[in-house]
Amino acid sequence: MNLLKILTGGVFAAAAFGAAQASASVLDTVKQRGVLNCGTDNTAPGFGYLNTTTGQMEGLDVDFCKAVAAGVLGDASKVKFMTVTDKSRFDAVLTGQVDVVFAHTTIKPARESSIAIDFLPVNFYDGTGLMVKADAGIKEFGDLDGATICTTQGSATETVLTAAFKARGWKDSKVLTYENLEKLFSALNSGRCNAMSTDKSALAAWAGNAPTPTDYLILPDTLDKSPFGGFVVANDSKWRNALRWIEYGLFQAEESDITQANLAEKLKSEDPFVQKFLGVDGGYGKDFGLADDFIAQAVKAVGNYGEVYDRNLGPRTKMYLDRKGTPNALWTQGGAIYSPLWN
């Protein structure tokens, strides 16, 4: 009978919990909790990576988590990084374990149509590439007929590779999947995989962080495009809109030349646009359920988009990915980083 009571209690609790979860926006939950649970990878240098010398999480995705924490809670340190894998990231958001995921996730229709998540704007434009050992004598994708190509499980690359084989009529090529990038890279090094395939930025990062980066060759081919975006649970527009505009705020800050360094100066600016944008006089935050100075807080924490990019992927990093001439440049420089109108 005792067992029965526990069982009944459990079911009612579960039902009540489900109902409570559905009605409140994640935005209110986060503000009430005072901490943002942000899902990131920890094995992707440049995006989400645990720096073993400092013990800190680093990367573009990590900085977006911090920007969100600063924008929503006014304090970039109020963020708890939760590691998600390519496989677990969607369930982590669906179950409410994390509030938002920034984990170099490719935006594609099947994910939004059948997984009940909503994507945030693209924060990095990437493409699916291939990396081989430099001594393997492979110069381009066409040399890989019959090869074993490895990737991570649950990634968009899995289907991209299959489609590429099919397009070329390759019958003997095989796709082998591993749990994470670490195992994937070991498998390439051991020779089990003739090529490792994932997003080009990740390939550059793994080659760049290897003891001798010249041992690896990233093939010139780009199998498909791979735009990355964070995502939140579906049907919560209050939360999603707040995050979208924090992200656009970082883009606009770069366009308006507001940086971490000149922020204090800009806060005193007479320009009415800057005054409203940074929440000095009026602001955009209230109606989103945020503080009016949410962009100022985010920029104070991580800088504008360009600064975030340079810190993690810029010329001073090991993996250096040039922004110039790619979609990752600001639209004013021919790229695709574009914020809607702030008015």
Binding site: S114, T148, Q153, E158, T159, V175, T177
Partner: protein, 403 residues
Amino acid sequence: MTIHETSAVRGMADHDHLKSRRLRNRIRHEAIQFGVIAIVVALLGLLAYAIKSGLAERGIRFSFSFLANTAGFDISEGWTLASGESFLPDLTLFSPDMTVASAFVTGIFNTAKVSILAIILSTVLGTMLGVGRLSTNWVVRNLCFWIVEFVRNTPLLIQLVFWYFAVVLRFPPMASAAHFYGLIVSQQGVYVPSLSWVGGDSMLSIALATLILVSVVGAIFDPVKGMRRICVAAAVVCFALLFVTGGAELNFPVANKFKASGGTSISPEMAALLLAIVVNSASFIAETVRGAIDALPKSQWEAAASLGLSRRYTVNDIVLPQVFRVVLPSFGNQYISLTKNTALGIAVGYPDLFNIYGTIANQTGHSLEGIIIVMASYLILSWIISTLVYLANRRLNPTGVPR
């Protein structure tokens, strides 16, 4: 019951009263049982409803229709069932054009393949280790002891990663692979020559093949030892004849740029998983076998010794037959647990059921439906194993025969 009955005999006057009380008891008993079942069913219904409405509120669809969709992803190895021209489905290699359901079947196939091989090999290896631990030879005894102790006391996942990255992937690459009589050992896998049937429907070839089958069955099941030997010899002769007359031929693997073609192969992932699970399960089986041998009365050994039986005969004909009767249920447990352990295959990229579920869940988004299918599949596999062990046990331990 019997007490009530005797008291009923004592006084017939009590009889009716007793009868009604017994009826009341029965009704109450059944009402409780019925009530418990009703509550459990209601709770399950409530749980299902809560899950369903929770999913609906979050905009997640719950449906199994995704199983009929085209998979669109590849699986590194494995066979599946596909509808062919004949009434029965054909067994073919999985390809990305097939359905998601076929991908699940491939996973079940791969899990079953590793499990069956692991059950056979770990039983043999485990028994050898278990007997070895009681060997009179100091080296053998201690070697077996340390193997068993070492393997039993380290996590299986770590052993698996060790076997994969430190052993199997240390094999030479394809370009400098080791070749022995048609066998190719490389990090792309172990390739062995395979048999292929070229006899068509010629009567001689079919007759020879039938003879081989009959003599193999005889060699395994004939109770007379002499007959078994004759059967083995017959099988070998028929096999040789089949080759000479051109009924079958060996298909040697040929090394290509990246892998080998022809022959059959064991992938590195499967080899590592099989090694890890066989060695791990064998060490547990060894302990069961050793325990059962220890529990056998000492007089059995002494009686065998006094009859002048050598140690080999004592172990093979006196000890092991008795031991197997006792240990079979524990073996059954071990078989079920090793089958479930194959789910660790994901750590080395082996496409077992759980690994393929991960891909399906990610590509289709139906993780809840997928995990229900996965759990049901493991449940059915475990049931099949325990039924087989039960049947074997009933055959080895007929009721009424003392152990």
